[in-house]
């Protein structure tokens, strides 16, 4: 038997080449075919421009029949969760984007309970995923876990409000938080810098864990490294949203028209909209990974620790069932023994009857 020479599988052109470098391409092709799923949650007080920003980011209108309630109606309302899904396709790559909106957040006079609904929604998605993962058919698990949460901070304050701090602390172990300063055209450049610094200081002071962009790998090109540095330095992003086309400097741009000038959405000197969009797009994969590896795993271990008690109950039930089954078995055995005894009696007493073909003498 001739030994197969390893040289038979080597590409004759490159010595030592096996061919598994082709793997990423295969993964890429499979992913593109499968498409991507991403769930983005937006949280913030009413009137901070959340819906406008989402529409601007994804160049779509996610809220076509929107009715804005008046103040008297808001008094009665509690926080709702509204999820809208849209399928976006770009150059053959499909993205199934779910935007989870939280109308009613921060509206009430007493906002003590306003984030309970949101937290239970996030936990529910984790719970569902855990259940699907532990199930029998794991082929088509739908991933509705919240991968990223844009938290909108009001530009009118002097920093974070007590509600902002309380909310972020309640969810920073469950979801990636990206703080965003809304309606940034209210601020002059100096005010913006001061506000950003103040917010970062307060985040540190209260030990809030926001999403940190991973540093660029050392083998990436300089442009990418520079871009990542710029992005990291601009957090929290101060954005302006708009889908209206305004004429400015001879061309049509998306922006807001004021009597004193035009604010251009896509002008990096006016606001950080482009940076936010870049961050979201280039780090979508990382956001999903962190959700899976950090937040979901946290949830899972907590859940299983708690759920351990539940499993014991099931064991006890099984023991009980076994005992019961054994008892039944014994009962049946007794019954059979009794029937046998009866039959014996009948056999013995059946001589005179003549109805039984006995073997006695």
């Amino acid at each position: 038997m001739s030994k197969q020479q390893p040289t038979q599988f080597i590409n004759p052109e490159t010595p030592g080449y096996v061919g598994f470098a082709n793997l990423p391409n295969q993964v890429h092709r499979k992913s593109v075919k499968k498409g991507f799923e991403f769930t983005l949650m937006v949280v913030g007080e009413s009137g901070l421009g959340k819906s406008t920003l989402i529409n601007s980011l994804f160049l779509t209108d996610l809220y076509p029949e929107r009715v804005i309630p008046g103040a008297a109606e808001k008094i009665e309302r509690t926080v709702q969760i509204e999820a809208s899904t849209v399928e976006i396709e770009e150059r053959g790559v499909k993205l199934r984007l779910t935007v989870v909106d939280t109308p009613g957040y921060g509206d009430a006079i007493n906002c003590r309970d306003c984030f309970k609904t949101i937290i239970s929604y996030i936990d529910e998605q984790f719970e569902r995923y855990l259940h699907d993962e532990s199930g029998l058919n794991r082929r088509h698990i739908l991933d509705n876990r919240v991968h990223c949460c844009f938290y909108f901070i009001s530009p009118f304050g002097h920093g974070l409000k007590p509600l902002d701090v309380a909310f972020m602390k309640a969810i920073h172990n469950k979801v990636n938080i990206v703080p965003v300063i809304a309606k940034a055209d209210t601020l002059t450049l100096k005010e913006r810098e001061r506000l950003k610094k103040r917010i970062l200081d307060e985040i540190e002071e209260h030990n809030i864990k926001i999403y940190h962009l991973p540093d660029a790998e050392s083998d990436e090109d300089e442009d990418f490294k520079e871009q990542t540095r710029l992005l990291k330095a601009s957090i929290p992003f101060s954005v302006v949203g708009s889908n209206q086309l305004i004429e400015a400097k001879g061309k049509k741009v998306r922006g807001r028209l004021y009597p004193w000038g035009v604010v251009e959405v896509e002008n990096p000197e006016h606001n950080d909209f482009l940076k936010l969009r870049t961050m979201l797009i280039t780090h979508m994969q990382d956001l999903q990974e962190v959700t899976q590896d950090l937040h979901y795993e946290n949830f899972r271990s907590e859940r299983l620790k708690r759920g351990g008690r539940k499993v014991e109950n099931e064991d006890m039930n099984k023991d009980q069932i076994l005992l019961e089954k054994e008892a039944e078995l014994r009962r049946m055995q007794e019954m059979i023994a009794r029937m046998q005894a009866q039959m014996q009696l009948q056999l013995q007493g059946g001589d005179g009857d003549g109805g039984v073909h006995g073997h006695h003498v």
Binding site: A71, A72, K74, I109, C111, R112, F156, D185, L187, Y258
Partner: protein, 358 residues
């Protein structure tokens, strides 16, 4: 003016307590042939000049309160209104201070002089309003403060030996700052205005209006006006206190078109078209505070200071204070407050209950 020629004591009191006709801007020094039946010129109209001189000598008090969430530009706006550093922001308050846990009332007084007229201006700030997670009843300290000022004045008034000129610390005007969400009022705004529009003159103001385009601004104003109407909130100038047709038409126009004023405040000056103007400099342009095309600050200023200042004081004295006084005296069985039947001191009237919307 049908009081005849007053004695010296009530003369000074007259400029402060008794309702006087709103002075016309131009003071005629010579008779203009108004009443052809008069055989000659008597000189009754010179009383306006006499009152003016007296006012200049004694000066007058004006107390303005600002209410709204932190960061809406209250302090800056007041500084811009009176063109001086009169607010809390100016006097040793560190901007890095934490939001207080309960609503505090901070009153700062300044004397401003213009054209020989001295005004003792007191700005009452309310830090902590609407900033907590639980804002229930956060208007109570404010209502309590306003009632306390009425009580103080009432006590002075019913004194047997009372001062020549009772110091007036009553709140003449309350500027309520609405957040420019562009959607509608917030539940807290409604609750505050419902409770307080019965005890003080409330002027709603849309803060930081440079956040809205012209369309958004007019839509928002319309919605706010409608909401205030639907909820039965009477802001100043109240419809029921219009004295005559002239007042009514003037005030109607303000109520239905201009209010709530959408303002922008600033204490920095920039050069625009060769002039120095107060404004805000952004990468996309300079927002001029006193330019009517940019915001309505000038309208607010004219309204509060140049045309309705005296009326604000009058309505406070004749209506809000009288309401308080009547209630106090009624509760006390017609006796002056502070002295019950057995000579015990009774506490002031508690906060008014929330009136149900009509």
């Amino acid at each position: 003016m049908s009081k005849g020629f007053p004695e010296t004591r009530t003369d000074t009191a007259m400029s402060e307590l008794v309702p006087e006709p709103r002075p016309k801007p131009a003071v005629p020094m010579k008779p203009v042939g108004i009443n052809p039946n008069l055989l000659g010129y008597i000189g009754i109209d010179t009383i306006i000049e006499q009152m003016r001189k007296k006012t200049m000598k004694t000066g007058f008090d004006f107390n303005i309160m600002v209410v709204g969430q932190s960061g809406l530009g209250k302090s800056t706006l007041v500084n811009t209104l009176f063109k001086s550093q009169v607010s809390r922001k100016a006097s040793s308050w560190n901007r890095e201070e934490k939001i207080p846990k309960t609503v505090e009332i901070k009153a700062i007084g300044h004397v401003i002089e213009e054209g020989g007229v001295k005004m003792k201006l007191t700005v009452i700030d309310t830090p902590g309003f609407g900033d907590q997670i639980n804002n229930e009843n956060c208007w109570e300290p404010i209502e309590k403060y306003i009632n306390e000022q009425y009580e103080k004045f009432l006590k002075e008034e019913v004194n047997i030996a009372r001062k020549k000129r009772i110091p007036d610390t009553r709140v003449h005007c309350c500027l309520y700052f609405i957040s420019p969400t562009g959607h509608s009022l917030r539940p807290l705004d409604l609750e505050f205005m419902k409770h307080l529009s019965k005890v003080v003159n409330i002027i709603p103001v849309i803060a930081k209006a440079d956040t809205m385009t012209l369309e958004e601004k007019s839509e928002f104003k319309q919605r706010v006006r409608k909401e205030l109407e639907v909820n039965g909130i009477e802001f100043y100038p109240q419809k029921e206190f219009d004295e005559d047709l002239e007042d009514k038409t003037e005030n109607d126009k303000i109520r239905q078109e201009s209010m709530p004023f959408a303002v922008v405040g600033s204490d920095k000056e920039y050069q625009v078209n060769g002039k120095r103007v107060l404004g805000r400099k952004t990468p996309w342009g300079i927002i001029e505070v006193e330019n009517l095309n940019h915001c309505e600050f000038a309208l607010l200023r004219d309204f509060v200071i140049r045309t309705h200042l005296q009326d604000l004081k009058e309505v406070t004295h004749n209506i809000h204070y009288e309401t308080y006084r009547a209630k106090r005296l009624n509760d006390n069985g017609g006796l002056p407050p502070g002295e019950g039947l057995l000579g015990t001191v009774l506490p002031p009237v508690p906060a008014t209950p929330c009136p149900t919307a009509e």
